[in-house]
Subunit: 305 residues, 2 copies
């Protein structure tokens, strides 16, 4: 496996190895700390492309000043070994200075250079708690797609709003990359795999699996009935989460029941006349170290009938 | 010459005609109403590339609601004839709906979809009078570059801030296109060619050539002396423009004396230790129809010594 740290090395690697007229590149952008979720994206890319490229870059511009940029887990040697054994062709692991030549202060007012914003699908849900998150994601993905020039890029369903934002971006900026969403990989109890799960002790990880249980129960109800009041769906979820909210393990940021195109909330009556995304963000307080709170997201899709 | 109106036709044209590994595409994006300034860009592209593509698209997102989107001159049949006779290989003339699938209301608050902003070089000079102008330009150029995939794109020095914005954009988003700036083409009296000149009667066009005379005189002074106080340069320009300001022909929007990299004003003493851009925007009132006022821009570069 080739490891590139500089932009120029990637361009050189592409030129020396790939004939863009007949060969395809699959691309999996990551922030490292790889888990089975990432590996499922790599597997899909390997299956569908001549070459598979993975990037590892903890992108500062998608972190707010109060978030966990500094303590975000960085495990490059283990990550590279995993990628090597998965048969990845090239790993791009740049520095922040390579990707942001003018620097990238976390304070948005001090930022300089080009930024990409996707209006209409960035402001709600995750965007409410994290106002510049999707601007950071869209900007870094634009840069990475231009550097790697992949045929297809793979993203996980766990970050479903990210996928929708990037789909609007690539389609409406006419980028020469198709993006694909792959299913969420979960642990045995149902918790969606996330690099941030490792901030939590075993007991809290177990409790966190009830996040999915709540969403799944609501999804089952909608699947069965085809038409349910929004309030009924919310109540089902809240009932399952109630004991954990009462014990201080969970603090709910949002529950959303939205359409899958524009991420607009389905009001009053939720029907299966279009795809429905039931998604949430929940703060989970660690049992072992109560000063640690981790914000976890999850979602299920109920497809239209 | 091939004429494409849809995005898919351009992609098809590229695939059928061009081998990206060995052949080059030169690209000249325009808003139509072509004049000798555009033709000089096309000439440069023809000389340096295997294929030359020109786009004609009056881009709504770079117009403010109070600006001249509706009355901006549109001369497609003449433009196509000119391009044909200049030996252009392909002309891309899309509709607004093709470029902005979600629509493009002029009111920024109602806009949806991806937008590209270049922080640090968009806010000053033109950006002061036209706060969303460079966001519109950067967004449409991103779309066009992704659609056309040119090796090199050509821009005129008249819109020098636009060139600097797009240089930062293409370099720092790692786009696979080099951008080049070509010299301003002027009429015999020195007025920079612009599609908006045609809003003015002959007499006002003649008077407008004094815009350049002012800048040129300041440039000559700086070239000769190598170090001049900012105030002295401003005074030289203002003295030349004074009669036209007094008669109501000119209203000065700004005069800028800035460095050529970050477009920051050179304060106090202006020296030739770095390139200097002397630029301006002037409102010219039409003599024949005083209800018509045209905002013209111009600049000269004094290169470092």
């Amino acid at each position: 496996m080739q490891v590139c740290h500089r932009v120029g090395e990637v361009v050189q690697w592409r030129k020396s190895n790939i004939d863009p007229r007949v060969q395809t590149i699959g691309f999996v952008p990551t922030m490292g700390c790889l888990h089975e979720g990432h590996m499922s994206l790599i597997k899909a890319s390997k299956k569908e492309n001549d070459f598979t490229v993975v990037s590892i870059f903890v992108n500062p511009s998608q972190f707010a000043p109060n978030e966990d940029l500094d303590k975000y887990p960085r495990t490059l040697p283990q990550d590279l070994a995993l990628l090597e054994s998965a048969g990845v062709d090239m790993c791009f692991a740049p520095s922040a200075k390579d990707i942001y030549p003018q620097g990238i202060p976390l304070n948005v007012d001090e930022q300089r250079g080009p930024f990409v914003t996707i209006l209409g699908v960035s402001e709600q849900l995750e965007g409410k708690t994290r106002p510049n998150f999707f601007r950071g994601v869209a900007t870094v993905v634009t840069k990475l797609l231009n550097i790697v020039s992949p045929t297809t890029a793979y993203f996980g369903q766990k970050d479903i709003q990210q996928f929708i934002v990037l789909k609007v971006m690539t389609e409406q900026l006419f980028m020469n990359t198709t993006i694909k969403m792959m299913p969420i990989v979960r642990d045995e109890a149902g918790l969606a795999l996330s690099s941030r799960n490792r901030y939590l002790c075993e007991e809290s990880v177990k409790k966190a699996s009830n996040i999915h249980r709540g969403l799944q129960t609501a999804a089952a109800l909608l699947t069965e009935k085809s038409e349910v009041s929004r309030q009924e769906l919310l109540t089902v979820i809240e009932q399952i989460w109630a004991p954990f909210v009462a014990s201080g393990d969970f603090k709910v940021d949002y529950i959303s029941i939205a359409d899958s195109f524009a991420l607009q909330e389905k009001r009053d009556v939720v029907s299966r006349s279009s795809d429905t995304i039931i998604s949430c963000a929940v703060y989970v307080q660690d049992r072992r170290d109560p000063s640690t709170t981790v914000r976890l997201i999850d979602n299920v899709i109920v497809s239209k009938r």
